[in-house]
Amino acid sequence: MLRLLTAATITAALSGPALAQATDPADPLASVMWDALRPELFGKAPIVFDDRVTVTAPANAEDATAVPVLADASALGVVEEMVLISDLNPFPVILRYHPVAAKPVVGTRIRVQQATPVRVAARTPDGVWHIGGRLVDAAGGGCTAPPVTYAARDWADHVGEVQARAWPPAGDDKTARVRFRVRHPMDNGLIAGIPAYFIETLSLRDSDGAELARLDVLEPVSENPVFTLDVKPGAASRALKLVGRDTQGGEIEAAIPLPWTQGALP
């Protein structure tokens, strides 16, 4: 705690008024990377730090190769895009989420290389990025730990295998929860002799082909990634389609059955 306070004080004292953009609010997480990330990720677009946008994650990462993160911007209403960011990771951007016909909620597990702020920025239709997040402490090393995948000799036979399940809507908003896990080493290119090789896009579609949600996945997402999404299937839909591609052109394709009919819901 003392260390955190000290770091925060020093950061505030050194970087406060001089470096930050005049119109920007101060970063509540006092991250040393924020002044660099802000223009890189958002250009001149307006940003606000907004408590309605939350990241649920443990205060301490027990497993630095798989830290659970759930980003929720549903309190904002309509959100066009969400960006998950881990400031102090070698690759800060975790993923971009496009909730086309879905709640602006996304859960996954990430690798962290050291203690870092984990944030989500959610863009509303007026072009404003609403940002929330928290600090995650960690022993670190998650981004440079060798993948477990290669311990199995037949790993290549299993890449792209999908396990998934959908749960019927429980709340008033009629969104169905979907969880899927894709077998993939998700190599981020940081381990000597192992080139980058990871899933880069995943699209969840309705039975008529209409896109419900799309993920642009990046390096920090864990090996054998798991995602939680809340989507709005059409009235007659009995199955969703998951379509994706990795950085070597490998295709991912799966059908996720809906054990209910959306139109028959009360």
């Binding site: 649920t56 792209g160 896990r181 996720i256």
Partner: protein
Amino acid sequence: MRVLLSLLLVLIAGSAWAAGPLTYQLKPMQIAPDTYVFEGTREHFTRGNGGNILNPGFIVTDDGVLVIQTGPSRRFGEEMRAAIRTVTDKPIRKVFIGNLHPDYWLGNQAFADVPIAALPGTIEGIRAEGKGMTENMYRLVGDWMRGTEPVVPTEAVYGSTVVFGSHRLRLIPLEGHTAADLAIFDETTGVLFAGGVVFSDRTPTTPHADIPKWLAELDALEPLDITVLVPNHGRIRTDKAAIAQTRDWLTWLDRTLRERMEAGADVAELLDQPIPDRFGSLGVLREEYQRSVSHLWPKIEQAALPRVN
């Protein structure tokens, strides 16, 4: 600015200077004839407690002193050995290590001149993970670890009954809390050194746990004629309530995770899950619960998600 800097210096230096040289202040507490325990805190590893979160013990027999667990650091082992010397001048005969977790054996350097016994699975585990665990302890408790290096136990023991002086000890090999858990039951005094199998008013830790097997371990210890139960973590008791408490916690934890998985919860949504009031007396409750979610969830989730392509 200068004022701020000096203030920071005072803040940083103050805590270290005020504490003086680091010492665990170990005091042997007699719990049965010939039998002593160093009672630790019911906390997690911190820079404040130096890793003293365990209840290591020793039995003074006519064949020499038997030491059970050596603590989280070289310093701890050395202080423990010195404290044993205040009770008896009999030589140390043997050390027993309960499992591979770092606070059980990182004091081994202080006992390098005597046989250090552990189950084969524990020895294997320490060989494989000992270095990483040691590094992590330096990160967690800092300077208390100075000079600590992993010393792998030197003697494999198995399920057996061994006699030292007038003490008959039953060495009970178990599996569940970790892949190799050694419980030691002194038939002469009725003292059970339960190691990591039983926790008492301290939340159980699960980094190497298999819950169904762990529950079977508790069933195996329950029938023993116990006068004093020494859990490695938590309150020492003269009854078996800690066995029931450990079983209650593990059962609740496992069932809650499975039920929430079936209901569609994301793992992050489990982190702030309400914990029933009856567990309120357990030390490090929320932190240890969150660690357990991280340990146990992936397996439960994988089993609950069917293949769809």
